[in-house]
Symmetry: C2
Subunit: 399 residues, 2 copies
Amino acid sequence: MNEIKKYVADHKDRFLDELFELLRFQSVSADPKYKPEVLKTADYIAGKLKDAGADKVEVCETAGYPIVYGEKIIDLALPTVLVYGHYDVQPPDPLELWKTPPFEPTLRDGKIYARGACDDKGQMYMHIKAFELMMQTNTLACNVKFMIEGEEEVGSNNLGIFVKANKERLKADVVLISDTSMISMEDPSIEVGLRGLTYLEVEVTGPNRDLHSGVYGGAVANPATILCKMIASLHDADNHITIPGFYDKVVELSQQEKTALNAAPFDLDEYKKDLEIGEEWGESGYSSLERTGTRPTLEVNGIWSGYTGEGAKTVLPSKAYAKISMRLVPNQGSDEIFELFQKHFESIAPKTVTVKVTPHHGGEPAVTPTDGNAYRAAEMAIEESFGKKPIPTRGGGSI
Amino acid sequence: MNEIKKYVADHKDRFLDELFELLRFQSVSADPKYKPEVLKTADYIAGKLKDAGADKVEVCETAGYPIVYGEKIIDLALPTVLVYGHYDVQPPDPLELWKTPPFEPTLRDGKIYARGACDDKGQMYMHIKAFELMMQTNTLACNVKFMIEGEEEVGSNNLGIFVKANKERLKADVVLISDTSMISMEDPSIEVGLRGLTYLEVEVTGPNRDLHSGVYGGAVANPATILCKMIASLHDADNHITIPGFYDKVVELSQQEKTALNAAPFDLDEYKKDLEIGEEWGESGYSSLERTGTRPTLEVNGIWSGYTGEGAKTVLPSKAYAKISMRLVPNQGSDEIFELFQKHFESIAPKTVTVKVTPHHGGEPAVTPTDGNAYRAAEMAIEESFGKKPIPTRGGGSI
């Protein structure tokens, strides 16, 4: 361990210089005008992987921005860790809110300020440097593979295609991702799960045209009202989702897992104060941390119907729409939940309207066991660094 | 009666010429560019009222377009009829759908085609000509007052002010309005009532900012969902409105009134086919004609919250809004119903959200007794002209 600490101390300035160099690339994937910069960043990462000692380094083309791959296989009998990261960043706007330029990294109070410094260039580069260090100090104890993409900030549309096409190459025992957050420096944590997603849109059609609410109101079902009734019925009085079969595959946490999860600091009063809400909400029998981490949800992300401009228009609308998403937990499947929703939503539609349910997109939930070697290794590393065991947390969203 | 028929026959061509002249005025109240035309129309009407024999003719200024007044008091002991009409018209767009120019009246198959021909210049001018005829043939049997406005198509914002300020001048026993429709030439009808209106907007606020539905979803009440639940609860399983006190002042029709009202031709299958709806809707125990004419309603005219654009955004919105209107029947008061709604809506809001209810505008319901002299006079006139007694109908909207 002393050898490792020495290596870090000896090379700290170079590590920082290189990270600053990486942070200067304007790798904004959302805006086509940055395309040359995004591509240069991929090449830079590939170079650094090679320098660190990776084999088979390749800038792999996709329909969008390339995915940088590299690996070091030292013994096929040893476990393999696949490191995921992304080299693209969000647009830096609004520029006027930056104290220092977004692509000119600056140290203030021991912290680095730059676009992408902690999402995800900082963490991704840390993994490359950790790999370099292990290569240089002969301490690499497993096989390592790197997969670093450039479209995380725009939906990772090509990542799934790449992964499916490269199953053998990417085969690993553990995936290591540092693209989420820890509770705090005082309460180190490891995110062990992410929820999946089924996102869809519903359309409720009443009469074939907008009607005058005076002439027809009272005798024709209003699709906005009907949609409200249908949405209202999707949660029962305990805020349990009413779609038949929705919870069938949901795994209840063990008491031990519940205890570990709820050990995370969480102050309900602070939470309510921060959001200015009178009361928290959610499924009866679960804490807020369980509700956001381990329980599936159903949310209205958007709803619209009729006249929504200034003033008054006495329209009885022909159509009403909503965007609805469900966060999923293991072992719920995105497509299966879509089908359950669709079937249920169609079944509860009264004869006065017709409904259409259209899928938008989905993602699968994931959770890592906390009793495996990989988690234990990470736990030990955190305990050694922070002097404290990490809290296993579950992320409510997806990456 | 022969004298009257002779007068009509002798002057028919002039009547038509004058009406065509009136229809040529581009009195579009919604578009300021037509202002000189609208003002000219008011002057034209005033002139015609004078020509017909009206006294005290005046183009009365308002904050908007003027109201034309004129009267003929023959005997204070006789009943007084106040004739309402409007000289403004809707914009003629889309112009390409007109077979002949909107402000160049054309006769086709015995019908006059022009903007405003039947809303409301035709009917309004018919009353002036009827008055002229009675003056010329010495058959006027009551006092007559005319109040003809120029802002009906833009909400009649100044009419109420004018009426309040001219209570004495406008005092009448009967108001005669020909700005609604008859069932058909085969089924003549008289509209004896109009519903009133309470129009308002609700705002439901959850967290103080839009949240990520992954990070917070499941633990924070979604105002869109809550609004849906609140709206859903405003009608019970019988589509009865659940606001306490809402029906307290509603008068039930007598069996005789029900029978007369339901004598209007109404084909439910045709109605459903026309609107392409699977089933009619409404309060249990009432026919569609009763539901639209004699029962109060509550409709969602607009609803919006969260993300309503293309594709998906996983937002847990901070706010949700709806525009809601209630059609009122005698003796419901517009302000009183607003207060009942507001109180109820606030009372059903869960602690997880705050709600705000804002009034938009209102109007009072009106109904004319069908057993009075005025109705009987109109009934006799229709029976003489059409060979058939009129059906008393109730209009669902307002003028």
